[in-house]
């Protein structure tokens, strides 16, 4: 046949045929194979992840007038609310060591990034239920595209917050170059926890509803809008909270101050990396079980 569409191209002909075997056995039974296919799938999912992220970002901004400003509106409104509460004396915040608006703005901004990172894996999977149930593609692509979208949003937020800091009377300096470390830490911790939540969240929608509730409480035991209490029960909660060092350092570096609790932060990041890997394994082993319980 002269038809160029018929037959498989020379490319596919030369490749040795891949053999795939499906059995009831858990993928964990063969850790070596699992590890290899994990990284193979991760590599294979890059283009799809990139394209899905591009799709969502384009679609999101094409249908919006304010566009990129939305990334900033949420933290800004929280900041205004807390500045009002503080200045009117309804809530008395102990000294924060910097202008209160800057304290709240940096805090809510970083905290919002954390909550987004944490909710991204479940959000991505829920939004793609239809695809998951019908087509075979590297599932990592959904997680990866969530990470790309998060990074894009984080970049936009950073571009806006730096001029805002100057306007509010702050003086960011060379320390700001360290902020990407904080962003990475937030992404790492958020995604790791998010990956653990996602499988259960795909089965029961309760999980998706519970997350914002829990995060709301968590915010008040993290130095987001309040200063770290010096003593008492609250101080203990702040101290065992793994997000405290991340937020504290992030804020410090944003406003041009020395970081503190660096060792704790390094330790937390190391733990989060392990968790992230385990979360990935969990995600892979449970995906096919979850897909059969999805209706689509």
């Amino acid at each position: 046949m002269s038809d160029p569409m018929s037959g498989s191209g020379p490319l596919t002909q030369k490749k040795p045929m891949a053999v795939t075997v499906y059995t009831p056995a858990s993928a964990l039974r063969d850790p070596g194979l699992m590890l290899r296919s994990m990284f193979a799938d991760l590599r294979a999912s890059r283009e799809l992840a990139w394209r899905l992220a591009q799709r969502d970002i384009k679609a999101q901004y094409r249908q919006s007038l304010l566009g990129y400003l939305w990334a900033f509106i949420m933290p800004l409104s929280t900041t205004l609310a807390w500045v009002y509460l503080n200045s009117s004396g309804i809530v008395k915040v102990t000294s924060t060591g910097m202008p209160y608006p800057i304290y709240v703005l940096t805090g809510t901004m970083l905290w919002q990034m954390f909550t987004e990172a944490l909710q991204t894996p479940l959000g991505q999977l829920s939004a793609s239920k239809n695809l998951l149930a019908k087509l075979k593609f590297p599932r990592e692509a959904l997680i990866l595209s969530g990470i790309i979208k998060w990074s894009f949003n984080a970049g936009v937020k950073m571009l806006i917050i730096i001029p805002a800091l100057f306007i509010l009377g702050g003086s960011p300096d060379i320390h700001i170059l360290l902020v990407p470390i904080i962003l990475l830490a937030i992404l790492l911790i958020g995604t790791a926890i998010g990956l653990f939540i996602a499988p259960i969240g795909l089965l029961y929608t309760d999980v998706g509803r519970l997350i914002p509730v829990v995060l709301q409480f968590a915010m008040y035991v993290t130095p987001v809008v309040f200063a770290m209490p010096a003593d008492g029960f609250a101080a203990k909660l702040f101290r065992i909270n793994f997000m405290t060092p991340v937020i504290v350092n992030g804020r410090a570096w944003l406003v041009g101050m020395e970081g503190s609790m660096l060792q704790e932060m390094a330790l937390i990041c190391a733990a989060a990396s392990v968790l992230l890997f385990l979360g990935w394994v969990l995600f892979r082993t449970t995906m096919s079980v979850l897909i059969e319980r999805m209706s689509a």
Partner: protein, 408 residues
């Protein structure tokens, strides 16, 4: 030939749960077992059933296996298991080579974005690179016949255009060793359907195909082998497509649908073939037999009714209408009371399959529907050969060869 077997399925079974809440609970238990590396059990938990049960088959390159069966027979579940979307609870599946699926056309489309952007997204979801799309995008656009709308957001597309685009992306780009098809061929208008079928035929030449459809003419035309499924089991696996199609129709539960004002009713319908009365509920008739229907109907109230009788296929598509007229060709008027009519239907020229009657009575002057019975007296037509058409004319025609030239 062993290495040419691209799909090997051995004793594959899969459980499903009838109840959502229980299903979710089992899902949690399965997640736990999966993480602990525990084997799956073959025992059914309460409210579970076998969605597919002990399925075995092999498909070689160049073969097309048709999966037929009624809704819920397990066809789609089997296809999902083959595609690796869900894991079998028992058995083993071996897949050799690149899998392409014409399932869920237009997956990943975002309505806000343009057709051009969506082509790239859809291709990515199918695992095809940007480079491949770049090379073929004109071909895709031409196939989908959307040249003028390529930079328009897909949300303004008609549903037909969207489906065409989805089909074009997948069908042009994939070069599979194994092809899965699930009821996606009858898309768009008739011209496009023909184009789809031709493209699929091309793909089939070089791949091993599993084809799920309720469209029996398509099954007869495409498949080299057919597996009939019922309640998760394979009840028949044969290369004689006609036998399989007949078997499939035999599984059908016929039900009579009645509508209309209710001022008339069909009391009874009897069939006779070549003068012999057929007693069965769903008799089998041979091609070329002369069929006669004897119908008893009842008309209520003071009015005149006229009647029509139609032969419909298994999808209730009307195929053949026999006007109920007298020797002058005027419709017979039926007054109040009961009437028994003998209606000659002529020789059976229907292709093998399952058929039934539609009988309608309407008021002769107002044309109001008095009654309409669908699916009346189903019957099966048997033939040694199944053709790809609704009607078959044999016996009365002899083909003469007028000229013959030989070509080297």
């Amino acid at each position: 030939m062993e290495e040419d077997v691209l799909i090997k399925v051995e004793g594959v079974s899969k459980k499903f749960c009838r109840d959502l809440k229980t299903s979710l609970r089992y899902g949690m238990a399965d997640v736990r077992d999966e993480v602990l590396g525990r084997p799956r059990t073959m025992e059914l938990r309460p409210k579970e059933f076998w969605a597919i049960n002990g399925i075995d088959f092999q498909v070689r390159r160049g073969e097309c296996l048709g999966l037929i069966g009624h809704n819920g027979a397990g066809k789609t579940t089997l296809l999902k298991t083959l595609n690796g979307l869900i894991k079998p609870d028992a058995g083993r599946i071996e897949i050799h080579g690149q899998v392409g699926a014409l399932i869920a056309l237009g997956a990943g489309f975002n309505p806000i974005l343009t057709a051009r952007e969506n082509i790239y997204i859809n291709a990515s979801v199918l695992g095809l690179s940007k480079k491949r799309v770049d090379e073929r995008i004109d071909e895709i656009i031409a196939f989908a016949e959307i040249e003028d709308f390529i930079d328009m957001p897909v949300q303004h597309f008609s549903s037909g255009m969207t489906v065409r685009l989805g089909f074009a992306v997948a069908a042009i780009l994939i070069e599979p060793d194994i092809l899965f098809l699930d009821e996606v061929l009858a898309v768009g208008d008739i011209n496009f359907t023909v184009k789809c079928l031709n493209r699929v035929r091309e793909l089939m030449r070089t791949s091993a195909v599993v084809f799920v459809s309720h469209n029996m003419p398509l099954i007869t035309s495409f498949c080299t082998r057919v597996m009939v499924m019922d309640h998760g089991r394979c009840v028949l696996d044969t290369e004689e497509i006609g036998v399989a199609v007949n078997h499939y129709f035999g599984l059908a539960k016929n039900s009579v649908q009645i509508s209309g004002s209710g001022d008339a009713s069909v009391l009874d319908l009897h069939l006779s073939a070549n003068g012999v009365a057929l007693e069965n509920d769903t008799p089998t008739i041979l091609q070329e037999q002369e069929l006669t229907a004897t119908v008893r109907i009842r008309i209520e109230k003071e009015q005149l009714g006229e009647m029509s009788i139609t032969v419909a296929d298994a999808t209730l598509t009307a195929l053949l209408v026999i006007p109920v007229v007298d020797e002058n060709g005027t419709p017979i008027s039926l007054g109040p009371g009961e009437h028994e009519l003998q209606i000659p239907l002529g020789p059976v020229e229907l292709n093998a399959g399952l058929y039934s009657f539609v009988i309608a009575v309407r008021n002769a002057s107002t044309k109001v529907n008095l009654c309409r019975h669908q699916g009346v007296h189903p019957f099966r037509v048997h033939a040694d050969r199944v053709h790809w058409a609704k009607f078959v004319r044999t016996g009365v025609t002899t083909v003469k060869e007028l000229e013959r030239t030989t070509v080297k």
